[in-house]
Amino acid sequence: MDTAFKGEHLIPGHLGQFFIVLAFGAAILSTISYFFAAHPNNKLDKSWLWLGRIGFWLNTTSVVGIGTCLFYIISNHLFEYHYAWAHSSRSLPVYYIISSYWEGQEGSFWLWGFWQAVLGNILIWKAKSWERPVMAVIALSQVLISSFLLGIEIFGTRIGSSPFILLRQAIEGPIFSRPDYLGYIKDGNGLNPLLQNYWMVIHPPTLFLGFASMVVPFAYGIAGLWQKRYKEWVNPALSYALFAVMILGTGIIMGSFWAYESLNFGGFWAWDPVENASVIPWLTLIGAVHVLIVYKNTGHSYFTALFLTLISFILVLYASYLTRSGVLGETSVHAFTDLGMNAHLVIDVLVFLVISVGLIVLRWKDLPISKKEEETYSREFWMFVGSVFLALSCLQLVVVTSIPVWNAVFGTKVAPPNDKVTLYNIFQGAFAVVVALFMGFTQFLKYKKTEPARFLITSVTYLVSSLLIGGVVVWLTGVYKLHIVFVLLTFASIYAVLSNIKVLIDALKGKFKLTGSAVAHIGFGLLLIGALISAGTSKVVSENTTGEQYSAEFAKTTDPRENIMLYKNQPIKMAGYEVTYTGDSVALPNHYFKVNYKKYDANGKVTEDFTLKPNSQANRKLGLVSSPDTRHYLFRDIYTHVTMAPIKYDDELQSQAEGGHEADADDDKNYDPAVPHEVAIGDTIRFREGFMVLKALNREAKIENITLAATDVAVGADLQIVAHGKVYMAEPVYLIKDNNGYDFAKKVGDVGLKLRLSKIIPAKGKVEITVYQQPESQKPYIVMRAISFPYINFFWSGTIIMVIGFLMSIFRRNKELKTV
């Protein structure tokens, strides 16, 4: 390129690219140095250790540098950079600049690398004797993550994708041969409206902190094998595993809450491959936490603990392959594109898989696998079995989610299940029944050996009481109408909650250290109950049986007709509510629709009255993008979402707001043919949606901007209009000025009326009122869908309780670490 381009700011990009290469190089230096530092011969020599630390610190500084450059580029709207052009625009508020940061793959890799750098620094500070081997693994992971940002061609293949690539390098177009091309790139593409939400500011960082922290227990596991410290790694790994599980769980549920509050698929979980990919490693690490505890307390389940710890991180990498490589293609709603990093992502998975398998094989003979059988009546046995079941539920998720991968590997053309939601619900529900039962009765078992008789009595007592409570719950919520698996799951979850409440009460009496697990288990039980009832008994309340029958075949379809149409100010009865679309308010780029819900008791008195404001953006690039609005009750939510509305594109609204309103000349075309009525005072005129009464003639009517001379006459007709139970007033005016007659029409937008006082007939003592009605087709309307979600608050509160439980457990395990 010899052309000198005008107006480009190349320095931040060059600096950023420099930091990327530096981050990559420093991570390699750190890995190699830590690797040699961990060698037994070098234990006393600290030079390798310091070199490793310096490398890692250099890497951390560079990662921060990359972030700063990228932030500078986006916040200064330097659209000569592809990343800024593709993900932001000038009109984007500052806090969403942060969201646009991680809208692209490069930004999310950066986020991952950033958290991993933070964790690495914590480990340098805290890990003491573990620092060398653990940091060698973390630095290696940092090498791979930095490599995804490189964007450099080596031997003809591009490695990674840099966020600092220029627009003219990323995209081909004749415009880029002009030296002043930047003059034409006035604005960026902007952030996808769906992502312009405060949850998008905090959900990705939380999720990625969760993903990044999965590497720490993995690194401890590898370090334990490598350094032959087979037993010691378990204690520190447990704390970090709990941390990872807590953060990742929070991140996943945040995503779920975001989807529920602002996306339009009508629910909090859709079993989309992307969601599955994040929950898979979470489940295996939960399993790992349990068997790590088993091993710590009894010496059993060593291999399972090691296996689940290692596989969890490998599954994180597999998940990033699934979601970032484009392999999901036809099966996911989330559009991920192939950045040409397919092989790179596979290598990332393979590197860590090979290290894990290799070390296990190498050390197999030395592993402290206990030869003794666990007792049947022991806590460790059932914790072990429960963890294996968690892993099995994962297996189902992995196998089904990976169908496109099997297709790619085996060259088959299998489509994913037609009704994947039901399939997943039933399978995962069945696994959850088993896991929840174990969560319940294992609480009554002790480590090593329990007396069977006593155990059976307590566990059966609790089982019976949960059957009783569960029976009531199942009856009241209508769960009994669902698949048997969900009925069983209700019983099992209640059992788990009850048993753990008992543990919690005991713990508060003295065995304080068990509170964390009891609280986390109660939270998880409530989460299951909430998810099950709200998803299982959620109901579309906007069922619509009207509409034309287009064909005999269409009339027979059993597909639910979930959308209802509302004309402005015409109330419709829907599931006990009277629903009215009352108007709009526009705060660009959002277009809010006011939907009023009213509920009446038997006497016709209003018992509930609230207005929801679902909104839509009519975006040129994306079409109509809608966000729901939800009325939250303690035990139920009413979710409302506009699926279709004839609104103008946001840029049209913008220009309208700037350029004033359109001329009124052709206004009459918007109405049905005019109907003149000759009326006297007190007479009534009927029209399609109601009636109006001429109350009085006002001889002192005033007209804006017109001063009346003594000879001028202005007469106003006071009309009272009644439509849809509402009363409106309007006063069209007839003016005689300088012997010429004029009339000034009045509009009543809510009922689609335009009224003229078109003639005064003194002879008859009457006036002529001309009524213009908007045809039905011109009236504003919305098409919306409403769903009720019962008991969804159990789901959210269960999550919060579970996170608190994790936090308590982390404190407990950290205390144990210090005392050991």
């Binding site: 593709a86 809208e103 990323a170 995209i171 177009g173 415009i175 003059g183 034409y184 790139i185 006035k186 996808n192 293609g329 036809e330 099966t331 559009a335 594109t337 059988e373 666990e374 049947t376 079995v385 294996v388 099995l392 297996l395 189902q396 196998v399 089904v400 053309k413 299998v414 489509a415 994913p416 299940p417 037609n418 399939l423 009207t546 509409g547 034309e548 287009y550 064909s551 075949e553 269409f554 027979k556 379809t557 597909d559 639910p560 007709r561 979930e562 959308n563 209802i564 149409m565 690039k621 994306l622 079409g623 109509l624 809608s626 699926t643 279709m644 039905e776 087709s777 309307y781 098409v783």
Partner: protein, 136 residues
Amino acid sequence: MKKSSIFGLVIIAIAIAVIISTYSSSSTYGSFADAKQSGSTLQVVGHLNKEKELYYDAKRDANYFSFFIKDNKGAECKVIFTGTKPQDFERSEQVVLTGKMVGSEFHASKILMKCPSKYTQDKVEVTEVSAKQASI
């Protein structure tokens, strides 16, 4: 037999059951011709015929949307979806329909569409560039 080996067998049995059930519950990609022949629910991959009418009129029926899809074998069929027009449907480049044939129409219960330029926006649209040139 030892307890752990019994447990191991149970686990293996469940794992095999999971894999078999996955295989049996999975669907097939087919063409409209396949759909007509089998009469059962399957998934058709195709693209929208943008020359023919996309019909949605909320005033007549808020839950009726019809359009024409050309499947990968080139056969064209009228498709009916019980619902509103999905956002940005006109721009879709590839559509995956789940549904079955009813008479001569394909009734889709699910539409999955891909608009590659949607999130990545790696295409400078020609129209857009020229519009900007005109604005100076």
